[in-house]
């Protein structure tokens, strides 16, 4: 169960930003918070203005939005990588800002960056993360085998990831993110660079993870592809210009926009957001 309310983040403008200063600000979050808004209003880029959603356990929640809508920034804040300027986030009732490590232990994140270690085998990549999550080696190995069977990766498991295809790399990164059997799964554009078959396989896996047999996981994934949302999501959060502009099931959103085609509905909802933005 993930609850996000009123999330906002403004980045200092790249030209003004200095690494040293940025690092200093991130040192003391409170100081950063106090100054953040002022800096943001004068020279910053508001990546996220007001994002909020509830993602239930045993359900797939899609974060749908055009490029640059603030999806990746939202997920990075959820993973504790970026401190938000405003808003609250809880994962299974645990506050992300004050107890980030406990949250990370309950979360598997497939982020935008999904680099592997090319000189290690797929198994070693996975078991390394298992160990970092505090798993015993035997348990991590068993889990790697189990997940590899699920994603049809068993033959590749003991090969170095050096020559892996895009799809094989994505699967390895996903297995790595799931090694500690987290209750919450966050995926940032997971189908990027995957072919049709790999995409279908991923969809199947996510559907299974949602079921009680698969652990009734709380799955949040971001995408800009309509079909994925239509076929997979129990609940959709439409994000545009850093704001949540609509939430609901696919049918509810269709009704809300008065459309029969989901793509048309999405454009209408996101475009309405844009209009509102222009009116401000």
């Amino acid at each position: 169960m993930i609850v996000v309310r009123g999330l906002a983040k403004t980045f200092a403008a790249p030209a003004v930003r200095r690494r040293g200063l940025a690092a200093w600000r991130s040192l003391g979050r409170r100081r950063g918070d106090a100054n953040g808004d002022r800096i943001g209003n004068t020279s910053g880029v508001a990546a996220v203005r007001d994002v909020g959603f509830d993602a239930a356990a045993g359900a797939i929640t899609g974060l749908l939005g055009p490029n640059g809508a603030g999806k990746t920034t939202t997920l990075r804040m959820l993973a504790g990588l970026i401190p938000p300027d405003a808003g609250t986030m809880t994962v299974d009732g645990i506050d992300v800002a004050s107890r980030p490590r406990e949250v990370l232990a309950r979360m598997g994140v497939l982020s935008d960056a999904r680099g592997l270690y090319p000189r290690l085998t797929a198994r070693e990549n996975v078991v390394y993360y298992g160990a970092l999550q505090g798993m015993e080696p035997d348990a991590a190995h068993a889990r790697a085998d189990e997940l590899a069977r699920m994603f049809e990766m068993s033959e590749l498991l003991d090969r170095r990831t050096e020559g892996f295809s895009q799809g094989e790399r994505m699967k390895t990164a996903l297995i790595r993110a799931l090694v500690h059997d987290p209750a919450n799964i966050i995926l940032d554009e997971p189908t990027n660079g995957l072919d049709v078959l790999a995409t279908r396989a991923l969809r199947e896996s996510l559907r299974w993870l949602r079921t009680p047999a698969g652990g009734a996981k709380c799955i949040v994934f971001s995408t800009h592809i309509m079909q994925e949302v239509e076929r997979l999501c129990d609940s959709v959060v439409v994000v545009a210009h850093g704001r949540t502009v609509a939430t609901g099931t696919v049918d509810e959103l269709l009704a809300q926009a008065g459309e029969t085609d989901f793509e048309e509905a999405f454009v209408a909802l996101a475009f309405a957001g844009e209009k509102a933005e222009a009116g401000r």
Partner: protein
């Protein structure tokens, strides 16, 4: 705490496996850093051996031999073999194909000598031709001895003692011990060991920081629960271990190198046994650890491995320039030398080679500097890690 130690161990093990699988890089480092020192030692010993062989050779090359029977007679009496110089000796000396100085005698040498006209005798060498140049003092000494004999004979004919011309006697006394003298030749060894340590750390340090950023594996790594400093300490441990391994290997590589020395004199002067190797390590290991952390701190700011290599050049350059202060012996050995990394290690290792003992205080100062550099660098990397992951 045990949980944190476990994380450090996990990261350290993974980074070590990763570094050890980079066979080609390791091999390159091994060949360039570990074998380079002994090879240089061998080259130096070959040079010294050939100089020694020449000293024993007792040959003098003369151009215009036929004009100087008296000189030839004198050299023969000094048990030197006199040979005619090749006709194109100047060209050969320049090209370093001929490695002896040549005595050039003018055509009217004997007549001028008898008439007291002071004939000019040239000793020809090329200062760029090291081996020929090394023979010049010996030949010059021989010629002066010839001149002195002539003077003594002339004075004796007139009933004057030759001592009149030499009111004082000058003698050299060299205070340097055999080992101290040898450091003029072997003084370059600490430099090679220092560079070996640095190159040993370089690749692993860059791969664990900038390489991780470039691969896009840093962001997912930080989405694991462990505290960032435990990740950094683990990474540093692995880099330092690789660097220390290279330090140990390059230090030990001089042990067999010593048996291969071709010059007996040099072998006798170059005292480098297990106890010297151990002292080298006492000096080198903290340096390896500190440099590993420093290189990581430099590289964490860089987005790609290539960019990091460019930045790391500054560190490499600084370390390679520092020992030059003592090479040129600027103002002798000063107390502040021990506070400067690389220079301190170079100074201490040179002392070991000179056969002077290491005092505790001398080891403690550089150790303190290394600990400070290491700790500051690790703290910096830990602080920069999150910003680095987000690019």
């Amino acid at each position: 705490m045990s949980g944190r130690l476990r994380v450090v161990g996990t990261v350290l093990r993974k980074e070590l496996v990763d570094a050890m699988r980079d066979r080609r890089t390791l091999l390159t480092v091994f060949i360039t850093s570990v074998l380079m020192g002994p090879l240089v030692l061998l080259a130096v010993s070959a040079l010294v051996a050939s100089l020694e062989a020449r000293a024993e050779e007792r040959v003098v090359y003369i151009a215009g031999l036929e004009h100087a029977p008296s000189l030839r007679n004198f050299f023969a009496r000094q048990t030197y073999v006199v040979k005619a110089a090749p006709a194109d000796y100047e060209a050969q000396l320049r090209k370093s194909t001929f490695s002896h100085p040549v005595v050039v005698v003018p055509a009217d040498f004997e007549t001028a000598l008898v008439q007291g006209d002071v004939p000019v005798v040239e000793v020809v060498a090329d200062s760029a031709n090291t081996r020929a140049q090394a023979g010049v003092p010996g030949v010059a000494r021989l010629l002066h001895a010839f001149a002195r004999e002539r003077v003594a004979l002339t004075l004796a004919l007139r009933g004057v003692s030759a001592r009149v011309l030499e009111p004082i006697q000058v003698e050299d006394r060299d205070l340097a011990s055999t080992q101290t003298r040898s450091t003029r030749i072997t003084g370059i060894l600490p430099y090679f060991v220092l560079m070996a340590v640095l190159y040993g750390a370089l690749n692993a340090a860059l791969d664990a920081t900038a390489g991780e950023r470039e691969r896009g594996s840093l962001e997912p790594l930080l989405m694991n629960p462990p505290a960032r400093w435990t990740l950094v300490v683990g990474k540093w441990g692995a880099v330092a271990a690789v660097s220390m391994l290279i330090a140990v290997l390059s230090t030990l590589s001089f042990l067999p190198g010593q048996w291969l020395l071709r010059s007996d004199t040099l072998a006798a002067m170059f005292q480098y046994g297990p106890s010297e190797a151990l002292r080298f390590l006492v000096v080198l290991l903290p340096f390896a650890a500190a440099m590993s952390a420093l290189l990581m701190a430099v590289a964490i700011r860089c987005r790609s491995f290539k960019e990091a290599q460019a930045s790391a050049t500054i560190v490499v350059l600084a370390v390679s320039l520092m020992p030059l202060v003592s090479f040129f012996n600027l103002g002798g050995e000063a107390p502040w030398h021990l506070w400067v990394p690389a220079l301190a290690q170079n100074t201490l290792m040179t002392r070991v080679l000179k056969g002077e003992g290491l005092e505790l205080a001398q080891v403690l100062v550089p150790l303190l500097v290394c600990v400070a550099i290491g700790a500051a660098s690790i703290a910096y990397v830990a602080r920069m890690l999150r910003a680095a992951a987000l690019k």
